[in-house]
């Protein structure tokens, strides 16, 4: 391929949501409103976004609520399909949009690790091989065969985070994962970031401007679905603070 250095190529991606004035979500409703003109409003979540992200780049995304950050991540993770444009990926993605997807309180820690890791795309062989390490990293050796319901929320997050980092994909999408843990957990995350910086491609959405400044190579400022800035973190943060002030 020509553009071998790119991990992600976002090419003129737009996404519009239709928000109906009256949401019909029953068969009964559909029948009752069969002859009614359906009215809706369109909400442009992303407007013609193009970005090339290099392999090994640490890209931060900041923006106000509703600026399109999460929509962009969900399109990268193929959860949403764009209305137009396309995303080309080189490498496998590990979405950290939420930690512990599929976790069930009624299952043991062990079962949950296997379940969550399988959902993240690991094979049974990979999980078997890494199981001890995952548990060791989470520091939950004693609780591994207890039901998840007995775990504190902090323990659950630790377990989920351990699984997620051992999923070991080339591209990581992080949506405010740091917001959930205590100081200890955050330190673990930072250490992990230091370790993978430069090796993996990371897209990092956060409201925590300090960590954006600390880790990111470039930072994208989104505003109402448009790119307002894509530059060095310190400059991007200035732009972001400016629009925050303006809107007040």
């Amino acid at each position: 391929m020509e553009n071998e250095n790119f991990a992600i190529k976002i090419d003129q991606v737009s996404k519009t949501f239709r928000i109906p004035h009256e949401k019909i979500n029953t068969v009964r409703g559909a029948f009752v409103n069969i002859f009614k003109q359906k009215s809706f409003e369109e909400f442009q979540a992303l407007n013609n976004i193009s970005i090339d992200i290099k392999k090994g780049e640490f890209l931060g995304i900041i923006g106000k609520n509703g600026s399109g950050k999460s929509t962009l991540l969900k399109i990268l993770a193929s959860i949403f399909s764009p209305n137009s444009g396309e995303v080309i990926l080189d490498g496998r993605i590990s979405p950290f949009l939420e930690l512990g997807i599929g976790f069930n309180p009624e299952l043991s820690g062990r079962d949950n690790v296997y379940l969550n890791a399988t959902i993240l795309g690991m094979t049974k062989k990979e999980i078997d091989k890494n199981f001890e390490k995952i548990i060791a990293f989470s520091g939950l050796e004693k609780f591994v065969d207890q039901k998840l319901i007995r775990y504190s929320s902090g323990m659950q997050v630790r377990l989920a985070f351990s699984v997620a980092i051992f999923a070991n994909r080339e591209i990581l999408l992080m949506d405010e994962v740091l917001a959930v843990g205590d100081a200890d957990f955050q330190k673990k995350c930072y250490d992990y970031f230091e370790k993978i910086k430069g090796q993996k491609t990371v897209i990092f959405v956060s409201h925590d401007l300090d960590s954006i400044k600390k880790f990111c190579d470039r930072t994208l400022v989104l505003h109402k679905g448009n790119i307002l800035a894509l530059e060095k973190p310190s400059l991007a943060i200035d732009t972001y603070l400016k629009i925050l002030k303006e809107s007040k």
């Binding site: 979500n25 068969v27 993770a77 959860i79 949403f80 939420e98 049974k124």
Partner: protein, 259 residues
């Protein structure tokens, strides 16, 4: 896209296994619950209807064996279709927080229903052994074929309704009522022969009625549907399956936005 092909199999199996475990493992009686529901239903219906119908009307002394086989098959159908329909909405986290192909979720729920069916089958075999009745080899093969056809029916129904259920949240209520009606429109508790001929014909248009009627007939009296009837029936089910795939394709892409 993110998962490699070979991992889909593991994902589907993992989801099915987890559902199965969650449903029965936590309870005191464990997996026994899986067989208890049809067994209780059988005990009640058998008690009620053995005393209403006398053996001469039904035509044979093995009413209870027929009833049990019919209940287990119908239970497979009703549990499988409901679980399949609910699958995407119940597992909405797998749709809104990560990408896995949506059909893997639907497939996993039908496989979970199949696991329960297979456990129920053990009970059926046990009852046949207790009664000391051995169906013919042909009847056993026919039964296996009918089980597979029931599965295809469940899968088609699920592929068709699971994405729609996300949009129309009252589908499950409608289906619950439909299942209750189907239970009586299917010759489970009564023999089909007790109805007038033209009603028999109408009832046999219901695929579960066809499957259950001929299962009962073949297992006990070794009487089969004729060759062309079976071929047409199989063809209809395969066509239904064939139609469910484009329907799934049409309705599944924008589910994350809908949920």
């Amino acid at each position: 896209m993110q998962l490699q092909q070979e991992n889909y199999k593991e994902l589907i199996w993992m989801l099915a296994k987890t559902d199965f475990k969650l449903r029965y493992h936590g309870s005191v009686l464990g997996y026994f619950w899986a067989v208890l529901k049809p067994l209780l239903m059988f005990t009640i219906l058998n008690f009620v209807f053995s005393s209403i119908f006398n053996p001469r009307v039904i035509g044979n002394e093995y009413y209870s064996l027929q009833l049990l086989s019919a209940i287990v098959l119908f239970n497979f159908f009703s549990e499988g279709t409901s679980a399949g329909m609910n699958s995407l909405l119940f597992k909405s986290q797998l749709i809104t927080k990560i990408y896995v192909p949506r059909w893997t979720i639907i497939l996993a729920s039908t496989i979970n229903a199949t696991l329960i069916f297979l456990m129920n089958l053990l009970v059926v075999i046990l009852f046949f052994a207790i009664k000391g009745f051995m169906p013919s080899l042909g009847a056993i093969i026919m039964f296996m074929l009918f089980s597979i056809l029931t599965y295809i029916l469940i899968l088609s129904f699920s592929l068709f309704t699971a994405p729609l259920y996300v949009k129309f949240r009252d589908l499950s209520l409608i289906w619950e009522v439909a299942i209750a009606a189907l239970f009586y429109a299917t010759p489970i508790i009564y023999p089909l022969q007790m109805l007038p001929l033209y009603i028999q014909r109408v009832l046999l248009l219901n695929p579960m009625a066809f499957i259950i009627h001929f299962t009962k007939e073949s297992l006990i009296t070794n009487h089969f549907a004729d060759f062309w009837q079976n071929i047409i029936f199989i063809a209809i089910i395969l066509i239904a399956f064939g139609l469910s795939i484009p329907s799934y394709r049409k309705f599944s892409p924008n589910l994350a936005e809908e949920i």
